[in-house]
Subunit: 144 residues, 2 copies
Amino acid sequence: MGSVTLSDIGVTPLQRIAVIGGDVLHALKSTDSDFHGFGEAYFSTIATGAIKGWKRHGRMTMNLIVPVGMVKFVFYQEGGSLFREETIGIERYVRLTVPAGIWFGFQGIAGGESMVLNIASIPHDPDEVERLPITAIAYQWNNI
Amino acid sequence: MGSVTLSDIGVTPLQRIAVIGGDVLHALKSTDSDFHGFGEAYFSTIATGAIKGWKRHGRMTMNLIVPVGMVKFVFYQEGGSLFREETIGIERYVRLTVPAGIWFGFQGIAGGESMVLNIASIPHDPDEVERLPITAIAYQWNNI
């Protein structure tokens, strides 16, 4: 885990295809170069201004997609002095690929509930997740 | 394909876990008994009253989840005289597992845009999809 850096987080533009009756939004294909296996897909909803974090996975690679609203993700590598911020959602429709070993938190910044889809490389396993209270890492979240 | 029937469509209740700041909604795990491999995940949005269909996959097993709104799916087996209707979404949070070989269409029935996640067993391949105009199969859709 020690060799992972914030620059290892991938950002992949995703297609949004206009279809009569409702658009089609790509998320992830098994043939994508940043596909690391399928373990579980689940949604996390996040209210306007709400913050979830901090969490760090020991084995899971996350693929994060925001098909509803806008979400600001903040990433932190232990021992570092920098944060990486990525704001994604309908106005910037990309996929974030996050390797294991990086602390992350996120905040809903749309004017309504936002929705995150995580397509994870392994099924949920509480033994590979570490958690810290939001105040434990000195990032200055905005009030929204 | 000829041996597939409408009763082969699976309905699996999914967990919706209350979390401060926003709920977590399960979708699919690789360890689920109705997991048939991961090929691609994508979203289809559908406006209120809009109808998409008909389509039939030759090889793809679909896992259909509706995390936003409510969607009525209608399934039809060629040569049969019956339709199977399944209305799913936030008020009935389940996963539909649909084997290849079944015609399907769907309609948004929530008072706003609904969103379907398909976790498909193979990546999109236009060669394995058949399409018919919505009028080609005599199902009586409701006006919404």
